[in-house]
Structures are given as C-alpha cells and as structure tokens.
C-alpha cells in the first residue's frame, strides 16, 4: 500500500544534506512550512540554496534558517518585506548570495522544471537590468528573454489537507508557490494541517496530485508566521521578549 505519511517533521527532513538546493513555499507570511524549516534548523545542514519568493520574515521559519547561517544563496523575487531583518543584514555584509528573478518568471521557471521544459521565452525584464547577460529573441516583432527551468533537490511545502497518496489541497492565498514547487523537486516534503483518508478529498478539487509528493507529515495547528512576528519570537525558541 502506498503510504507517504511520515511520523514527524524531524524524520521528514533528516536526509537533507549540506549543499542541497531547496524550494520553500510561501508568499509573505502565508504558506511557509515553518515547522519543516525549524526541523531543518535543528538538523543543521549548511551551504543551502533556497528558492522562495521572499527571504522570510521576523526571526522564525525561513528567516531563522538564514539567521543560522545555513543558507549560501537565495533565489527569489522579493528579498525584503516590511518584517524582514535577517536577510538584509547578511546581504549587506556580503555573507549571502542573491539571484533576483521577476516573480512570474520565478513561478514559470519552477513550473517548467516540473514539466520537463528546459527553457522558455518571457517578455518580463526585457530592457531592464535583470535582462543583462541573458539571451533575447524576437517573436512577431516583440523581444523576449530566454529563461531556464529551475529544479531542486527538495521542496518544503505547506498545505491544508493531504492523504496517504500525497494528494494535497491548500488554503486561500497560502497556496501560492506550493503547487508548482511540489512538481520541481527530486524529493517533495509537505506539511499538512490535516491528513485525511484516501478518497476524502474531492478528485475534482485536488490541487496537487500525489504523483508530485514524496512525504507528507501532519502538523496540526501550524505556527502562524504573522503571529510569530507580532510576538517577536526567534527560533530556536527563546523566552518571549
């Protein structure tokens, strides 16, 4: 019987080695797999490349991983948010590398990575500094940039419900990058707020079919990044300040 359910976040991430490339879901403070990221902080691999829309907020979740000096490079579209403090500091001091990618290009590069398409053309960034060094080509009189697929060793994704096959549904705008990231990693690890029986999810409404998912771990009542920021919590946990 196929059963992708893993007993804990620790077990789910324990084979992630130093040097790994990891897709991390989330946009702003919604959809980030905070518990999986904290398990990765506990595990301690270093020299990671993280692909995520942002660079984390506050001092928990992705920001904690970066603060813990485990991340060598970030590929993202928007590395600063009103609550991001960790990345800017490391970036300014030259301690972390940044590849800046327009958000739609980032999403499509990841989708292509999952869909077996090595490269595609997009009009985004033409004539801007982000076009520099990239190949361009004219189609029907308009200039486009050639962009390459992104694949990763792992994807860490948060969702709302999952079943033993790895079928997933998400919650509102916390869906964001999750579905495309699930498709583009050698090993996709998902934390779900609830694991349900196979057949419980409506087959017409499953957003991520299980074929894209390798491991599912239930994290009931997951930490809410917005609340962690409001409470100024840092991971590893310290006394509330």
């Amino acid at each position: 019987m196929i059963n992708k359910i893993i007993s804990s976040v620790e077990v789910a991430v324990r084979d992630i080695p130093s040097g790994a490339t990891i897709l991390v879901s989330g946009f702003g403070e919604a959809g980030s797999p905070v518990e999986l990221l904290h398990a990765l902080v506990d595990l301690g691999p270093t020299d990671l490349t993280i692909i995520s829309n942002n660079t984390g907020s506050g001092q928990a979740g992705l920001a904690a991983l970066i603060a813990n000096h485990q991340v060598r490079k970030v590929i993202c579209s928007f590395p600063k948010t009103s609550n991001s403090v960790v990345f800017p500091e490391l970036y300014r001091s030259g301690k972390i590398e940044l590849e800046l990618v327009p958000q739609g290009t980032l999403a499509e590069r990841i989708r292509c990575g999952g869909a077996g398409i090595p490269a595609f053309y997009t009009p985004a960034s033409v004539g801007t500094p982000l076009e520099e060094g990239k190949e361009t080509r004219i189609f029907e009189g308009r200039t486009y940039v050639l962009e390459y697929a992104i694949r990763a060793d792992y994807a860490l994704v948060k969702c709302r419900k999952a079943d033993r096959y790895g079928n997933l549904v998400y919650n509102k705008t916390a869906r964001n990058f999750g579905p495309v990231m699930c498709t583009a990693a050698s090993t996709t690890i998902v934390q779900a707020s609830e694991i349900v029986e196979a057949g419980n999810l409506d087959p017409e409404s499953i957003v991520t079919p299980g074929i894209f998912v390798n491991r599912v771990v239930e994290v009931r009542n997951p930490l809410d990044e917005s609340i962690l920021i409001a409470e100024n919590r840092s991971y590893p946990w310290q006394k509330k300040q």
């Binding site: 946009f27 702003g28 403070e29 919604a30 959809g31 829309n53 579209s77 928007f78 590395p79 600063k80 948010t81 009103s82 990345f87 800017p88 970036y91 300014r92 940044l98 800046l100 990618v101 327009p102 958000q103 739609g104 290009t105 980032l106 999403a107 499509e108 990841i110 989708r111 997009t122 009009p123 985004a124 960034s125 033409v126 004539g127 801007t128 500094p129 982000l130 998400y170 919650n171 509102k172 705008t173 916390a174 869906r175 964001n176 990058f177 999750g178 579905p179 495309v180 957003v207 809410d224 990044e225 917005s226 609340i227």
Partner: protein
C-alpha cells in the same frame, strides 16, 4: 516661489479619476500605496474584478477588525477578503493571467516615468539597497493597460516624469497614462499629451515641473 503653494489634486481625487477611467467589467491589478485607493472610488454601477498576483481573483475590501485571515492576503501582504465568485490559484497560473494579457488594467506607483512610457518603480539603484522586484516586471510586460499614479515631483521637488529614467527600469514603453497631483498625462507614440490639469496648475507650471516635453491635446 508661488509654485510651492500649488498642491493640485489630493491622492483621493487622483485615485477617483483613475477609477472613473476604468470601464465596467475590467480585470484590475492594483499596486501598493496610492493605487490601492482606486478600489474605493469605483463609480456606482460598475463592477471591477481585482486580481492579486499571490493567487486570488475577486479580491474584496479589507476585513473588519478581528476578521483577518492570515492566509488571505494581497500582494502587499495586507489582509483582504474574497468576494462571492472569487477563485484561488497557484503562482504559475496567476502569472499566466498577467503575462498572457488577461488583466485589463494595472495601476502602479513609480519612481520615474519617461517620455516614451518607460517605468522605473522597483529600485532606486542605491548602493546599499536590497534589490526586490516582485511581480512588477511581469505586470508591466503583460497587462494590457499600465497606468501610473504618483506625485508629480519627488519630496525634494525633482520631476518624476523625465526624458529618460535614471533609475533601473521595470519595463520599456509600457505606461499608457500617468495620474499625478498636477495632471493626467497620456503617453502616446507622439509623446506626452496633457489630458487634464489640476485646479491652479497651468501648462507652463506643469512643463516647468516635468523633465520631458509635454504637448497639449
């Protein structure tokens, strides 16, 4: 100088004028800041559908206090609501809407707009700045009509409408109309045309505060 007393339109009026220019039934993406105000001034009887690039079509107004859902936010990371008839989708689908030309209007803020519709709104190019582009380059490349709402000049009085942008570009030849506190200006193939002047603003005054040549309609 007398010019210092010229205020022109307030941001609400700018937003209201932009809102009145968007036809009924349009799909609209609103940037962060003044553009967000546009949704508050849609003329009665019109229905616009708001897209937010983080995966929601049919974005509604801010929730009442205490009704915030941490997993229902807009691209500016603010709490929003969803109207009946809304839909959620993932980021690749969301940017397919943008890149594929399905969004009718995008109203953006800007640091600079050039005489031919180049826009710079993602980076001031400062040495120590953290570069962050988000979805801006996709929006200006993909949305059918790019409108800019911004103050006519910087806080230090420099024109923001210029011959050529000095800040890093977001996109080239994309802006169709500019709403400032002083005027509404259309970007055409023949140059910048003044569509409307704010009360107390003369063409000469406007030209003096603009870094590119203006034309009267």
């Amino acid at each position: 100088m007398a010019e210092e007393t010229v205020k022109g339109w307030d941001t609400s009026t700018m937003a209201a004028m932009a809102a009145s220019d968007i036809p009924d039934g349009s799909y609209v993406n609103l940037g962060i800041g003044i553009p967000e105000l546009v949704a508050s001034y849609v003329p009665e009887g019109r229905e616009l559908v708001y897209h937010t690039e983080n995966g929601l079509l049919g974005m509604g107004p801010s929730p009442a206090a205490g009704e915030e859902d941490h997993e229902l936010i807009n691209a500016g990371k603010k709490y929003v609501t969803a109207i009946p008839g809304a839909s959620y989708f993932h980021h690749a689908d969301s940017f397919a809407m943008i890149r594929g030309g399905h969004i009718d209007y995008c109203i953006l803020g800007a640091f600079q707009v050039s005489h031919n519709g180049d826009i710079a709104n993602w980076s001031t190019g400062e040495k120590d700045a953290i570069p962050a582009v988000g979805g801006a380059m996709d929006l200006v490349a993909g949305v059918k009509n790019i409108y800019v709402i911004m103050q006519h000049c910087t806080k230090t009085g420099e024109p923001k409408i210029v011959e050529n942008c000095t800040y890093p570009l977001t996109g080239k030849n994309v802006v169709k109309r500019i709403y400032t506190n002083y005027a509404i200006i259309d970007v055409t193939e023949k140059g910048l045309y003044v569509n409307k002047l704010a009360p107390g603003v003369t063409f000469d005054f406007l030209q003096k505060n603009t870094g590119a040549g203006l034309h009267l309609k």
